[in-house]
C-alpha cells in the first residue's frame, strides 16, 4: 500500500496527529482574534486601519502566529531520531521534515491570514508573511533537528532571530530613528522585492545545508565538534559548582512553589529576558551604525514593548495548553509518552500525588509561583525601562519627544495590565479550568447575552457582558465554596474582594475616557479573573488529586 517513503511518512504523520491538526489552526487563531476583535469595536474608522499602531499590532500578531505555527508543526512532526533506524537516507529524512514542514507552515499562515481578512475588515498582506514564515521555519531547522542540547545552537538561534527581526522591521519601513515603529513612515510589507526573493533563496539553501549536516552528525552519534564539546563541558561543570549549595526550604509551600516555578513557569521570564536582550542588541547595533542614540532608545522601547506582548502571548499559549493540553497528549503515539511528569507540564504524576502536602498549602504554593513568575517578568521589563531612562539621561535625549512615552499613564497602566494578565493566565488551569465545564456557570451568561441581543446591542457588548457575568458567577461560587470548605478565612476573602473591587474602580476611573462599554466590561472581568485563583485553586487541586 505504501508505495513510497513520502506516502508512508505522511500517512503516519496525519494518523498520529489527527486531533492536533484540528486544534492547531484554532489555537493559532484564538489569541490573535482576542486582540483584534475588541479593537474593531473600540475604533471603527478607516484611518485607524493604516495607523502605525495597527501596523505595530500586525507585526506582533504576525510574529506570534509564526511562533505558534512553527512550534505546532515541530511538535507534531516529532523527533527525526525515530527514523534513523530505518533504511532511509539522511537526505531523505532531512528533506521530508524540512520541506513538508515549510509547506505546512506556509499553508497554515496563508489560511489564517485569509480567514482574518474575511472575518475582519482588516486589509493585511498575505504573501509576504507567508514567505517570511517559511524563511523563519527553515532558518530554525538546523537548531531544532538535533538531540544534543548545546549552548552554541541556542546562541545561533538567537542570532537567527535577530537577523530575521531586522529583515522584518526593515521591510516594514521602520526608519530606525526617533519614533521607531510608531512613525508615519511605517507601512505594510506589501511587495516582495527582488532582494526579498534573494534573501529567501539564500537562507533556504543555507538552512537546508546546515540541517543536513546536523542530522548527519546526529544520526552518526556525533553531537558536537570536539572543541565546542569541551567548552560546553566546562560550562556545565561551572553550573554544577555554582548550584552545589543545597536548598533549605523552610516549608512545604516554599518547596512546592520553587518546584512549580522551575518546572512550569520559568519559560516565560526567560523568554521575556531573551526578548529584551535581543531588542537591546538590535538597538545597540543600529545605533552604532547610524551613530544616533535616539535610535537606540526608540528601538529599545519598541523591543521592550514587544517583549511585554510576547510575555502575555506566551502566558496565553501556556494557559490554553494547560486547559486543553491533556486532550492533545492523549492522542500522541506511545513512543512520545515521556516520563509522565514531563509529558504535560501541568499534570502532576504519582510522585507528587504521594507527597504529604495539604491542598490549601499546594494551592498557596501554585498561586505564589504564578505571582513570582509575573514579578520576575515585571522586574526584567522595569530594568529595561530604567536602562532606557539612564541611556536617555546619559546622551541627553529628551524622552518626551519619543512617542508612546508621552503619557506615563499609558506606560504604567499597560505594563500593569500585562502583569495582571500574565498572572491570570498562569493560573488559568486552576482558576477557570474547572469552571469552564460547568453549565450552571454559563447559564446566566447565556441568558444575559440573549437578553442583550434581543435589545439590539452590538455583538461586542453582548459577548463581553456575557463573559463578565460568567467570571462574576464563577468568582461568587468559588468564594462561597472555599468559605464553606474552610479553604480560606473570611477576613482574607473580604480583603481580596476589597482590593479587586478597588482596582477595578481605579481602572474604570483612569480610563473612563478611553474605554467604551466593552473595555469597561472586560476590565471588570479581568479584575474578577485575578481574584479567582485565590478562591478556586484549592478546590481544583483537591479534584485533581483525587479522581
Amino acid at each position: 500500500m505504501m508505495h513510497s517513503i513520502i506516502a508512508a511518512l505522511t500517512w503516519e504523520y496525519v494518523a498520529r496527529n489527527r486531533w492536533m491538526l484540528l486544534w492547531l489552526p484554532l489555537l493559532a487563531n484564538i489569541p490573535a482574534l482576542c486582540i483584534l476583535l475588541p479593537l474593531k469595536s473600540i475604533s471603527p474608522d478607516d484611518s485607524f486601519m493604516t495607523s502605525p499602531l495597527l501596523i505595530g499590532i500586525q507585526v506582533s500578531v504576525l510574529l506570534s502566529l509564526v511562533l505558534v505555527v512553527c512550534f505546532g508543526i515541530i511538535s507534531t512532526q516529532g523527533s527525526s531520531r525515530r527514523l534513523y533506524r530505518f533504511p532511509i537516507s539522511t537526505i531523505q529524512i532531512t528533506s521530508y521534515y524540512f520541506w513538508t514542514g515549510a509547506l505546512l507552515v506556509g499553508a497554515q499562515v496563508a489560511l489564517v491570514l485569509w480567514l482574518w481578512k474575511v472575518l475582519l475588515p482588516i486589509d493585511w498582506p498575505i504573501a509576504s508573511p507567508v514567505v517570511f514564515s517559511i524563511v523563519c521555519w527553515c532558518a530554525l531547522q538546523p537548531v531544532v533537528r538535533g538531540q544534543s542540547q548545546s549552548l552554541w545552537w541556542i546562541v545561533l538561534a538567537i542570532l537567527i532571530v535577530i537577523a530575521l527581526s531586522f529583515w522584518l522591521l526593515i521591510r516594514h519601513g521602520v526608519p530606525f530613528q526617533q519614533g521607531g515603529m510608531l512613525t508615519s513612515q511605517v507601512h505594510y510589507w506589501n511587495v516582495i522585492s527582488i532582494t526579498d526573493w534573494l534573501i529567501t533563496f539564500f537562507s533556504l539553501g543555507l538552512a537546508y545545508w546546515l540541517t543536513a549536516i546536523r542530522v548527519t552528525y546526529d544520526r552518526s552519534g556525533r553531537s558536537n565538534m570536539p572543541l565546542l564539546e569541551r567548552i560546553q563541558l566546562a560550562l556545565e561543570r561551572l553550573e554544577a559548582r555554582w548550584f552545589s549549595g543545597s536548598w533549605n526550604f523552610r516549608s512545604p509551600i516554599q518547596a512546592y512553589s520553587w518546584y512549580d516555578l522551575r518546572h512550569r513557569l520559568l519559560t516565560i521570564p526567560i523568554l521575556v529576558f531573551l526578548g529584551v536582550l535581543v531588542s537591546w542588541v538590535i538597538a545597540g547595533l543600529t545605533a552604532v551604525i547610524k551613530r544616533d542614540p535616539g535610535t537606540l532608545i526608540s528601538l529599545a522601547i519598541g523591543g521592550t514593548y514587544l517583549s511585554t506582548v510576547l510575555q502575555v502571548y506566551m502566558a496565553l499559549l501556556f494557559g490554553a495548553l494547560s486547559l486543553f493540553g491533556k486532550y492533545l497528549v492523549r492522542f500522541e503515539a506511545p513512543e512520545h509518552k515521556l516520563k509522565k511528569s514531563d509529558a504535560t507540564p501541568f499534570e502532576h504524576g504519582s510522585f507528587f500525588n504521594g507527597l504529604p502536602i495539604s491542598f490549601k498549602d499546594k494551592a498557596t504554593a501554585l498561586v505564589a509561583s504564578s505571582a513570582m513568575a509575573t514579578v520576575i517578568c515585571g522586574a526584567v521589563l522595569l530594568l529595561s525601562y530604567a536602562l532606557i531612562g539612564m541611556v536617555a539621561w546619559a546622551f541627553g535625549v529628551c524622552l518626551s519627544n519619543v512617542k508612546f512615552l508621552n503619557h506615563w499613564k499609558y506606560l504604567v497602566s499597560m505594563n500593569v495590565l500585562a502583569m495582571v494578565l500574565t498572572f491570570v493566565l498562569n493560573n488559568l488551569k486552576f482558576s477557570i479550568g474547572p469552571m469552564l465545564w460547568r453549565i450552571d456557570h454559563w447559564f446566566w451568561s447565556i441568558i444575559l447575552a440573549a437578553i442583550l441581543v434581543a435589545f439590539g446591542q452590538p455583538a461586542g457588548i453582548c459577548v463581553s457582558a456575557a463573559f463578565c457575568v460568567f467570571v462574576l458567577v464563577a468568582l461568587t461560587a468559588s468564594t462561597i465554596q472555599s468559605l464553606m470548605k474552610a479553604d480560606i478565612r473570611l477576613g482574607t476573602a473580604l480583603g481580596i474582594w476589597g482590593i479587586g473591587t478597588c482596582l477595578a474602580i481605579l481602572g474604570w476611573y483612569l480610563f473612563r475616557d478611553e474605554f467604551g462599554p466593552v473595555g469597561m466590561l472586560l476590565l471588570a472581568a479581568l479584575a474578577g479573573l485575578s481574584m479567582l485563583p485565590f478562591f478556586s485553586t484549592t478546590e481544583s487541586i483537591r479534584r485533581a488529586h483525587t479522581s
Binding site: A240, F243, S244, S246, W247, N248, F249, S251, P252, Q254, A255, W258, Y259, R262, H263, K339, K340, S341, D342, G349, S350, F351, N353, G354, L355, P356, I357, S358, F359, H545, T546, S547
Partner: protein
C-alpha cells in the same frame, strides 16, 4: 481493627465501562510484608492509588491507619513511603535537589540515613535525574521512600525492568524495613520468586477480583500436586473434587489440589486411586492454577 494498617472493604471501582476493581476486601496487618500479586492490568496500581487517596472509593471503603486517605491526605501520606511503578520524579532536578525538596515534606526525615543510603546506593548527588539509568532512578525513588522511616512502605512493582543487582538492593531494603519493629510493607509484583521470599501474606488480584488472600505458610499447606494411579485407564482425567488442574493420560493423572492433605487422601481413596508421587508446587504454579480456574 487498629491492628490493620490498611483495611479495605468491598471496594469497587470502574473507569467508564471497565470495571477495574470488583468487591475487593483486603486487610494488611501491622508489622509484616504483604505481597500483592497480579498480572499487568489486574488492578494492582488502581488499588494502591486508592490506598494513597488518589482515587476515591466508588463503592465500599478504604481506611489507612484508621483514616480515610481521601479526607486526610497529609496525615496518611506523611506516614507512607511510596515508590511508584513509573518512578516519575522530575527529570530536570539533580539528585541532591530532589532530596532537599522531598525532605521538606516529612518532619520525620532522617538526613543521616539519607546520606548513608546515598553512599550505599552509589549515587552522585550532582547528577541530573534524566542522566540516570533506570536502576539508578529506582534507587533514588527507594531512597526517598525510605529516608523518613515510614510506618508503611508501599512499593508498586519495585523491581520491574531492573537487573538482578538493583533488585537485590530493593529486596534487601524491604527486609531491613521489616526487621524494624512495627513497620509494614506492601508491595505489588508479578515476579513470584520475590513474593515468595519476602511476603508473610499474599493476595492475588486478577481482573479486579481477589482470588486468594492468605498467609504464605498456609498456602503451602493448602495446595498439593500429586500423581494418582487409577485401576482403569481413561482418556479424560477422572473428576477429583477440589482439583484446580489436571494433566496426564491413561492410568496416571497429576492433579493440583486445593485443600488439606487429609481431604486429598480421602478423596483419592474414594476414587480407588493411589498416590504414587508428590511433586513440588511453586507459587508460580499456584498462581497460574488460580487464574486458570477463573
Amino acid at each position: 481493627m487498629s491492628d490493620f494498617v490498611i483495611d479495605i472493604q468491598h471496594l469497587g471501582r470502574s473507569f467508564g465501562k471497565t470495571e477495574a476493581l470488583q468487591d475487593v476486601s483486603l486487610q494488611v496487618p501491622r508489622g509484616g510484608v504483604f505481597g500483592l500479586i497480579g498480572s499487568n492490568g489486574a488492578g494492582k496500581t488502581t488499588l494502591i492509588k486508592h490506598i494513597l487517596g488518589s482515587h476515591y472509593a466508588q463503592r465500599g471503603w478504604v481506611k489507612v491507619f484508621g483514616l480515610d486517605p481521601v479526607a486526610e491526605p497529609v496525615k496518611v501520606l506523611g506516614r507512607i513511603g511510596y515508590m511508584s511503578e513509573d518512578r516519575d520524579v522530575p527529570s530536570w532536578m539533580r539528585i541532591g535537589e530532589l532530596i532537599d525538596f522531598t525532605r521538606t515534606f516529612y518532619p520525620a526525615w532522617d538526613s543521616g540515613y539519607a546520606t548513608e543510603l546515598t553512599s550505599v546506593f552509589e549515587l552522585d548527588v550532582k547528577q541530573k535525574i534524566r542522566d540516570l539509568s533506570r536502576g539508578q532512578t529506582a534507587r533514588v525513588c527507594l531512597l526517598l521512600a525510605l529516608s523518613h522511616r515510614p510506618e508503611l512502605l508501599v512499593l508498586d512493582e519495585p523491581s520491574s525492568g531492573l537487573d538482578p543487582v538493583i533488585r537485590r538492593d530493593i529486596l534487601t531494603a524491604i527486609v531491613r524495613t521489616t526487621t524494624d519493629e512495627g513497620r509494614t510493607v506492601l508491595f505489588s509484583s508479578h515476579l513470584l520468586d520475590e513474593v515468595e521470599r519476602l511476603a508473610d501474606r499474599v493476595a492475588i488480584l486478577h481482573q479486579g477480583r481477589i482470588l486468594l488472600d492468605q498467609k504464605l505458610e498456609d498456602i503451602y499447606e493448602s495446595y498439593h500436586r500429586v500423581t494418582l494411579r487409577f485401576d482403569r485407564s481413561s482418556s479424560v482425567a477422572p473428576a477429583l473434587e477440589g482439583s484446580l488442574h489436571s494433566d496426564g493420560n491413561g492410568n496416571e493423572w497429576t492433579y493440583v489440589y486445593r485443600g488439606q492433605k487429609g481431604q486429598l487422601l480421602a478423596a483419592s481413596s474414594q476414587l480407588n486411586a493411589t498416590v504414587v508421587a508428590e511433586l513440588p508446587l511453586s507459587l508460580d504454579d499456584i498462581f497460574v492454577c488460580n487464574i486458570q480456574g477463573h
